[in-house]
């Protein structure tokens, strides 16, 4: 399955993966310690997908993502401090603490919408794609979503419109085999999500979401296709979420053997080893990178925890551009 990528690209991807993985680990640690309380949807295990996709994106390309999307955002350039301050509900957060972990936005890096509603990242990504078509600026929009989301109406309407309008959109389904507690098979009639592309006359590509080369190849092609005006692609990246649906999840619905196997085959250290083996980075460089990431996260967490919450006046701000009465 794995497409070969050169060491430099693998390293670039791993640099993101290392950040994403460390950040997730820290988030769970902070939650466990009771330093923060929030609904948290761990993406541990899925890091390679946005890391590889983002490596193919321009800084000004767009993404729309979901509640389980902090990896997508970090890969696209969400700054750590404002991220942590936001999920801590502080005024210094990227959304002044008003959005929280399910609703992060950072237009500076094209992170346009994070939605808590299953399926809703797709229709909005189409609109971003339409804007690119109109302005001719070549920007591509990526919509991230899960396998379960492929069963909701918004998915269908979005793929159809994107195809009919030939929009520069890439639909990236992170298929982690579960939708909350429901297995893929119990909710999804398609043998694979990518099979659905046929009904929209667009390419449907399934790739190994735990293999950087596989994702990178699929993403590169889809993004090029989109950017050159040939229209949308549906990518299905097979992966696994290590920590259940939401932080604190009891997990009884999961096959322990499946989970065990997935965690043993953790794609992040696998990619790390691959990069080192390819001589693109030394063990020491990797360790230094990881140490730097840890200290950046330290700083971000400290910044967040030291920040003040938003004031009560924020309930009356940002409802409309100009506040109105009645």
């Amino acid at each position: 399955m794995a497409d070969p990528i050169n060491g430099a690209i693998a390293r670039q991807i791993y640099e993101k993966v290392a950040l994403l993985k460390a950040n997730d680990e820290r988030a769970r640690k902070v939650l466990k310690a009771g330093q923060l309380v929030m609904p948290y949807y761990s993406y541990r295990g899925q890091e390679l997908i946005p890391a590889a996709v983002s490596t193919c994106l321009r800084e000004d390309d767009y993404i729309c993502t979901i509640y389980r999307g902090i990896h997508d955002m970090l890969a696209k350039g969400m700054p750590l401090k404002q991220l942590w301050a936001e999920i801590a509900g502080r005024a210094t957060g990227i959304c002044k603490g008003k959005g929280g972990p399910m609703h992060l936005t950072y237009p500076d890096k094209g992170i346009m919408v994070t939605t808590g509603i299953v399926g809703s990242s797709l229709p909005i990504a189409n609109g971003l794609g339409w804007a690119s078509q109109l302005s001719g600026d070549g920007r591509v929009a990526v919509a991230y979503f899960g396998d379960g989301a492929s069963n909701i109406g918004a998915f269908h309407e979005s793929l159809n419109l994107a195809s009919v309008w030939k929009l520069p959109v890439v639909f990236v389904c992170q298929n982690n085999l579960y939708a909350e507690h429901t297995t893929y098979e119990k909710g999804t009639s398609a043998k694979q999500v990518s099979d659905r592309a046929f009904g929209y006359s667009m390419p449907g590509v399934r790739c190994d979401g735990n293999d950087a080369g596989s994702i990178h190849a699929a993403a590169r092609e889809a993004i090029e296709r989109a950017r050159s005006g040939e229209g949308p692609t549906l990518i299905e990246a097979m992966t696994f979420r290590f920590h259940g649906h939401v932080y604190g999840d009891a997990d009884s619905y999961m096959d322990p053997a499946l989970k065990e196997a997935a965690m043993t085959d953790d794609p992040a250290p696998r990619l790390r080893a691959q990069v080192i083996a390819s001589d693109a980075a030394s063990e020491a460089e990797m360790a230094a990178l990881e140490a730097r990431i840890e200290s950046e996260i330290d700083e971000a967490v400290a910044f967040a925890l030291a920040s003040a919450p938003p004031g009560p006046e924020e309930l009356e701000i940002d409802i409309f551009a100009e506040e109105v009465m009645a």
Binding site: M112, I124, E157, A321
Partner: protein, 341 residues
Amino acid sequence: MTHLVQTAAPVATAAKPIHILKALNQAITDAMEADDTVIVLGEDVADPEEGGVVGVTRGLSTKFGDARVRSTPISEQAIMGAAIGASLVGYKPVAEIMLMNFVTVAMDMIVNHAAKLRFMSGGQTSVPIVIRTSTGVGLGTGGQHADYLEGWFAHTAGIKVVCPSTPADAYGLMRAAIDDPDPVLFIENMPSYWQKGPPPERGYYVPLGKAATRVEGTHVTVVSYSRMANECLAAASKAAERGVSAEVIDLRTVSPWDREAVLASVAKTGRLLVVHEAVRKFGVGAEIAAEVNEAMFGKLKAPIRRMGSAYCPVPFAKELENIYAPNASAIADAIVELGKE
């Protein structure tokens, strides 16, 4: 309000009357001419598809091209999503949901996203879209094509609700809605598209949130909007013949509504009747009544009355449809009765 570039005199004297449909078409045309970022989408809105089922968007795709004016599949969620997405990065989409009952398949996009993204992003993004839709009883379309659902959106923070009742207002409110930096639900009345009235001046803006006093009166204040505002005007004439003088206020914008104008009028008359075509129960009229009651406690001459449609789906049979919503003669009766209380 920076986005209101002009609020000049509404009516060019001696100009030929135009109908609401034409006024809307003119407003969108003028907005597209003035601003390249104004774009249009919806089912059948482009000219190869006849420029909309009744023709509100006719001529736009021919004039402004297929890129800016797009007919869509029957996919209301995708329509709203496309509008929202484009609006996040500088466009001003005017999206059509053919009939108001079809907003029911796009509520997530409108309520969870369009109305909330400014707040949830801490003001980083905004959704300057206009959602045009049409509704209203009178055409025998039955239970799924004529509901007034503005109450749902008035109850939703972050979206404005506009309901014109004259050609000039249709024009001026549309221009203001398109320029508004936030989502606006723009509700047109299907049976009134061909209603004529004095034409607006090109570039005329009706500020959102400002009511119009359609006729002055002393005994009873009547507050309404959309087609019912016209029924109320007719009712006021009838009531005048019966010795009761009604002041008719057309809200024009339902949310935010012009509390000041309503309170000023009720301060004068001491009596209020609120009339809308939406089902009476839990409708917009309740909020207005509750607010005015609170503000005018002890100063009202009579209880505030509300009229709205019956608590049932829109019936098909003409005889039932005719009595489902308030009409001028029922409203006149209510005005007269209230005036005597």
